[in-house]
Structures are given as structure tokens and as C-alpha cells.
Symmetry: C2
Subunit: 458 residues, 2 copies
């Protein structure tokens, strides 16, 4: 008998996952190994643990352990803002007049405003356990930096964030949230690192780039005793921690006997998408079930739909390990697209390999239609979504409208990664009719892709 489905499905505390799931364990063909940027050979545990703390390096390199216990301290922190609700979008269904059932997993109900906190708290916990004094990172749009500052504040670690200068100046409120959590926020390029001073000298007045901020953060970590660098997306360890999203989603669906036909996630570096789809992809890989898994990316930064699958640097500064991934080339400069979190040139190598194996389909959407979907969703479901998340909303609405036309009663599940409270400059542009679409030309992509490093592996 089908139970009446409430507007919001909350798991009980005792139903919360106690382990993360490592989807690589169920992949017959594994993602290609990450490479040492100096030698271009697969990176060793010893090399990797100079950048990341040991347990994280271990998680990064472990392709075979299916489940990792979530330490009790992390589970207690999760209890402050998790389980996040799986929401049945009754109002949106009614408005769209669709027979489809729409569900979204909402990760924005915490002060960092997004899912990034799920991995930030894990990374900081392991750093603390190893006896680190602090961590360094970079932030662009600011969601990751905010999440990291919250996690560091909780476990008492020093937090140094290099924030791309134009964001630092244009998003002063993001900066203040981080400062309220005790983080040191430095506009990048700064005068505190060699690479920053060099940039400021060569390009006076530069407003910075993510690539430079990463280089500054890595340099700062390596030059301070007891510090490590941390990263909020792309890595396998991040997908592992973010699997909590998918595990909770699956538990909530199972609780009410709901079988999803498709799972939709926005895709930047792949942290949310990978975490959301992991347990479902695992079932497909084990031959237990079949789902349509859909990645939605901005047309302005289309790594899956228009990139190539090859080894590339993860950062423009070329100091981080190389990964085999769908990439537009590390020199690709995305346009001034407001979905800041989706402006990454590459894609998690696990997501990339799943895509290459045909488990995921990808589509790209343009910015103005994304904001139109965001506006519709905000007005009907009462949540102002982040621009990033709104890519998934757009695809979910499209699918629901198709169901209206076909009469199919499909179960559509999508990830609502965060809220748009710090993205109102973009909303203002949309409200004022001043937003523009942007799609790179084939020639632009050809130029950035032709500079890929030559790697002999495989």
C-alpha cells in the first residue's frame, strides 16, 4: 500500500547514514589515476600526503573500499543541519499541470548555504585529528570558503581563505560571513605569497583568478608548519563525503517506496552531482536497477557536452595533481557567468569516467532560461535557489513538461544544492532585463583545448 507522501520527508536521526559510499569500488573500469604534476607519473600516497592530510590522501587513492565509516564527531556535526529534507514539490507539479512527481533534495538549509559543508567538516576533522594547526584554500563564488570557515570554527583550526579579488570586492557579505566564523580572508592576488607578489607586479590592478588563488593557497600551506591545502570539489574524497546526499535521498525514497525514474544534478566540478548520484550509479553498476542520471551544466562552460576526455591540470597555476577528465583546458576562461560555482574548466574524474561509460547523460542550458526557472521555482516553492542549483531546476521543469505531454507519471528527483541569498546581484541583472547569454565558439574551445599537456599514461 502506498503511504501518503508528505511535503517534506525527513529521516529520523537513527536512519541517517553511518557510512559514506565510494562508487569507485563498484566500477569495473576505474577512473584513471591522478598524476604528480612534476613527474606526470601516478601520484603516490607519500607525495599526496604532503598536500592533503594522511587520511584524506588515503581516501583519495582508495578505489576498492566500498564503505567508509563516518566518524562519530562528524556524524554529530551532521546532526546540526542534517538530514536535509527530500521535498515533494506538490505546488510546482500543480503549477506545471504535470502527472510527474517531482522531488528535490534540499542542501541549502545551513548557514554556508550549500552542500559544501558535508565535505568541509570531514576534511577539517581529519586535519584536526592529524594535529594540524590550520588549512588553506581558495574560494571563488564563496560557498566553499564559507563552509570551510564554519568547519574550522567548529573544530578550532585556523582557516586561511584566498578569495579571488573581484569576488572579495563584489561579494563583501560572503567575506563577512567567513570573518564572523573567524577565517582570515585575503584578496588574491595578495602580497603574502611569492606567486601573488609576482602577479601584482606583472599585472598591476589585476582582479585575480581562481587559478592564481589556488596557487597562493597551496604556497601558503606548504610554507607554514602544520598546514595543509584543502579543496571543495573535483576530488574523489569530496565525492565520497558528498555521497551522504545520495544515501539520504535513497533512504528517504525507499522509506516511501518511491522508485525514481531520473536523478538530475547541476554539474561544475562534480561535487554535488557525484555525491547525489553515487548510490544510484552503484546500483546500475551492480546490475540491480536502472535510472536515468542527468548532469546539467552551463552552456558557457560546457565541459561534459563540448570538452574532451583527457589528462589536464586541475588548476590554471599547474601546481595540483593532474586528472583525466572531461575538460575545456585549464587555460579556459569562462565568461562572466553568474553561476560562479559551475565555472570550472574540468569535471571530477569519477563523474567523467561514469559519463564515458554511458551511465550519465549530460545537457547544457543557457543562463537566462536558468534564471527564468529559478524565478518560477522561487515563486511557487518558496525557496530562492542558487544560480548553480537552478540549472537542475531548469532540467527538472523541462522533464515534467514532457511528462505532461506524454501523460507519463514519472518520478523526477533533483538536487537543490543551495540558496541564492548571496547571488542577488545576478538576480538584479535578471530582474532588470540586463542579463545576457554566452556560449563559447568552437574556435575558442579549440584554442583552450589544444594546450592540453602531453601525457603518456595508459
Amino acid at each position: 500500500m502506498e503511504k501518503k507522501i508528505p511535503y517534506k520527508i525527513y529521516l529520523e536521526e537513527q536512519e541517517m547514514p553511518r557510512q559514506w559510499y565510494n562508487v569507485r569500488a563498484d566500477m569495473k573500469k576505474k577512473p584513471a589515476p591522478i598524476l604528480n604534476p612534476g613527474t606526470l607519473e601516478p601520484i603516490t600516497f607519500e607525495e599526496l600526503s604532503g598536500i592533503f592530510c594522511e587520511e584524506l590522501a588515503r581516501q583519495e587513492l582508495d578505489e576498492n573500499t566500498r564503505y567508509f565509516d563516518i566518524p562519530e564527531e562528524i556524524r554529530n556535526f551532521y546532526k546540526m543541519y542534517r538530514p536535509s529534507p527530500l521535498v515533494r514539490a506538490y505546488c510546482l507539479e500543480e503549477k506545471l499541470d504535470t502527472p510527474a512527481h517531482i522531488y528535490y533534495k534540499f542542501e541549502g538549509n545551513n548557514t554556508s548555504g550549500s552542500h559544501k559543508l558535508n565535505s568541509a567538516i570531514a576534511q577539517v576533522y581529519y586535519g584536526k585529528k592529524q594535529g594540524l594547526k590550520g588549512v588553506t584554500t581558495e574560494t571563488g563564488a564563496g560557498q566553499w570558503g564559507t563552509a570551510l570557515s564554519m568547519a574550522c570554527s567548529y573544530f578550532g583550526l585556523d582557516c586561511q581563505v584566498f578569495m579571488v579579488k573581484c569576488s572579495y570586492e563584489q561579494k563583501p557579505f560572503r567575506r563577512e560571513v567567513m570573518r564572523t566564523y573567524g577565517a582570515k580572508v585575503t584578496p588574491s592576488p595578495s602580497m603574502e605569497t611569492k606567486v601573488g607578489r609576482k602577479m601584482n607586479e606583472e599585472f598591476p590592478g589585476t582582479t585575480g583568478s581562481l587559478g592564481c588563488a589556488i596557487s597562493e593557497a597551496v604556497e601558503a600551506a606548504l610554507s607554514q608548519e602544520g598546514y595543509r591545502y584543502v579543496l571543495g570539489s573535483v576530488l574523489a574524497q569530496v565525492l565520497l563525503h558528498q555521497s551522504i546526499i545520495g544515501l539520504e535521498t535513497k533512504a528517504a525514497l525507499d522509506k516511501y517506496g518511491i522508485r525514481p525514474h531520473m536523478i538530475i544534478g547541476c554539474a561544475g566540478g562534480g561535487s554535488n552531482l557525484g555525491g547525489l548520484i553515487s548510490p544510484f550509479a552503484g546500483e546500475i553498476l551492480r546490475g540491480e536497477a536502472d535510472y536515468k542520471l542527468i548532469a546539467v551544466e552551463p552552456a558557457s562552460c560546457p565541459s561534459l557536452t563540448r570538452g574532451v576526455y583527457a589528462y589536464d591540470f586541475c588548476d590554471t597555476g599547474k601546481v595540483c595533481p593532474l586528472a583525466k577528465m572531461y575538460t575545456l583546458g585549464s587555460s579556459f576562461i569562462p565568461s562572466a557567468n553568474h553561476a560562479g560555482g559551475l565555472r570550472y574548466h574540468g569535471m571530477s574524474s569519477t563523474v567523467s569516467e561514469l559519463y564515458a561509460q554511458g551511465l550519465i547523460e549530460a545537457r547544457s542550458v543557457e543562463q537566462i532560461e536558468v534564471f527564468k526557472a529559478a524565478e518560477t521555482f522561487a515563486r511557487i516553492e518558496g525557496i530562492l535557489p542558487a544560480p548553480e542549483s537552478s540549472h537542475a531546476i531548469k532540467a527538472a521543469i523541462d522533464e515534467a513538461i514532457q511528462c505532461r505531454e506524454s501523460g507519463e507519471e514519472k518520478n523526477i528527483v533533483f538536487g537543490l544544492t543551495g540558496t541564492g541569498y548571496f547571488d542577488l546581484t545576478a538576480y538584479q541583472k535578471y530582474n532588470d532585463g540586463e542579463m545576457e547569454d554566452y556560449v563559447p565558439t568552437d574556435e575558442q574551445l579549440r584554442q583552450s583545448i589544444c594546450g592540453l599537456p602531453k601525457v603518456e599514461i595508459e
Copy 2:
């Protein structure tokens, strides 16, 4: 047997209240009636329904009906963001090393960012049912305007918000949220009303005041066919709708057999405090239980602790009904206190009468210590609180520290009304050490209070 108490207590959908509670029904001595500003006589239903829609006028004047059914349409809207969690602040307790158990009812998990949505949706629903085309209102800090724009968007009513010009300019993001929900936001004083044009003529370059914005909103409502004016605090109808906060809190506590020793709320116009304490005050009034009820107000605007209990105008423009309340005088201009929502010169007449009868105790706190409590709370409990809400946090922390000293295992419950994502200018001042305390002198209060209207009622 005591059940293990989870970090967050969520009621099931079927446990949600189906009726609002009208605390006046249990008061032997009722709050004094509101008066027609023209005649200074108790206002009639006919007079009141020219300003508010009929059902709301009825609710406003009904002192005797104990419970009002919540219409199904409103209950369905509530289900999108309610029940709100009652959170056990385990982490805060540990940090304070207190034997006290601390609980907070969190009303900030919706895009309007506060409890204001509980009444906005009700007021708009009744307006829609009466066939109105739209509503007008004023907003200062912006929480009420945002909530109203969300409610109007949901029910398809036109929404006109007069936003105090300095807020309009200093809080552009609040304005953009309202615009995203389709509201027309006009900086006040505007050139669209007589009173606005007069103000702009007499005081060129003025940045406006709440009093002027109210007058503009009332004029706009009266001059448009099918429009009514709505108000987000102070009124009895607002306390009725906000009783959902207290009813849910009580149901969640009862579910786990928890008996609160005290209920703490921040107090501006009284909408949150009144709603939170209503069911508990009812039990006290009926002789069924005893609780300590604590109102916390800013030292910069101390209506309960330093005001007089007398009839006064609810607005500086003197167009709204008069109410008997604790007041600093409608000419009182609060200092530049950042807790915008608590800058009201008066206090809900129901809360005022409960205070006069000794059911509530009041205390005032200064701004810097409020932000210090906010910072502590944000870092430990992971939620960035609104400055208004932080007044209650400050009092709860003080009580928990007293319990540490006395060794008492008290149950402390407080209302966390909202989030501070749009208050980061204030946080920045605090972070930079540039925040100042302000307490009005006795002479300042004497001057604003001596101008109270002469009313012969009673």
C-alpha cells in the same frame, strides 16, 4: 521513561496544528480596545474593515474565540516550510559547560528568513478570498516586505511595498528578493502619494522613516479600488497567526515529555514573542502550569523596561488605530540600532497587558553584547542569526551560565526568529570593532513620552 532527544525535533505533518490559538480568550482582563484615530472611540468592525479585509478585522476584534481553524490552503502553504524544527542546542550546552538543556525554535528556514511569513500568508489568503486585487505595506529592515511578497506571489495578489529610502538604498539585496517575487518596491518618501510628495518637498533629500512609509502605504491602499493595507506586527490578528510558533513548540516539547522552565523571545512589536509564548501564557492564565516568560528588548528602544503603559498611535503618521501599550511615544526615533526589526516605539497591546498582569518579565540588552552572543552562537550552532533573534540568544546564554553556577538542570527554550544573511553590514561593523552601544537618556524618553495623546477611555 525519557526518550532520547534528537538534535532536531520535527513534528510529523499530521501532528501540525490545525488551529491558531487566541490567548485573549483566556485573559480575564482583556487588552484595552484599539481606537479610531479620528474619534478616539473604540473602533468598530465597519470602520476597521475599511483598512483591513473583513475576516482580519473580525479576528482583530474577537477577544473570546479561543481557537480559529487554519484554512486548508494556508495549512498547505505552511507545509512547504513548516513544521519548523525545535533544536536541542547540544553543542552550545557543551561549550557553555552548563547542566541546563537549551532548545530553540528556528523560524529562519524559509526564504523570507523569518517568522513573518506565518502571518503574511494568512493575511494575503483572506484578502484573496475577499476578492482583493492587492495589498500595500511598509517595510523597514525588509523581513516583513519579503514575507508579504512571497505570500502575494503564491496567491497571485499584487504587492506594493513602501520601503524606507535608506533601507532601499542600503539593502539592495532585500529589495531584489522582493522584486524576484514580483512585488513593486518603492523607496519612501516617494512621489506617488500626497504624503510622500509633501515630505520630499519639505525635506529635500530625506532618507525617509517608517512612520512616513506607513502613511504612504495606507494612502496607497485607500486610493486604489480593491486594495487593503496589511501590517506584520503589533496587531492581535498577527499574534493569532504567529501562535503557530508556540503551538508547534509545545507539541514538540510534549512529544518528548520536556517541561520548559522558561520561554525567551526577542521583542520588537511583539509578533514573535506573542506567538511563541501564547499557548504557554494560556496555561498560566488557566492555572494549569507555571513558566517564566521573558521578553528581551534592545536597550536602545526599551518600550517594556522604560516605557509607559498608555494609549498611543501605532505609527508616527497617526493614521492607524491607537492602541494601549507600553510605548516610548510615537515620536521616539530609535538610534541607528542594527536590529532593525526591534526599532518600534510600542509593543503589541496583548503582550503589554500580559506584562502589566505580571505574566511576562522583561529585560533589555545592549547591542555589542548581543552581537557577541550572535557570534558565539553562529560558531557553535552553525546558524548565522538575525540581530533581532540574537537578543534572545544573549538572554538564553545568560540563563544557561547561571545554571552552571547554581547547578540547576533547567530547560531553557528560546525563539530563533530568523537568519542574518541580509544583516552583514552590521556584522561587518562588529567584526571591524566599529559597533557602538546606545542607550537613550531619561530626558530623551521624557520628551518623547510627554507627547502622548490624551485619551479618556477606561
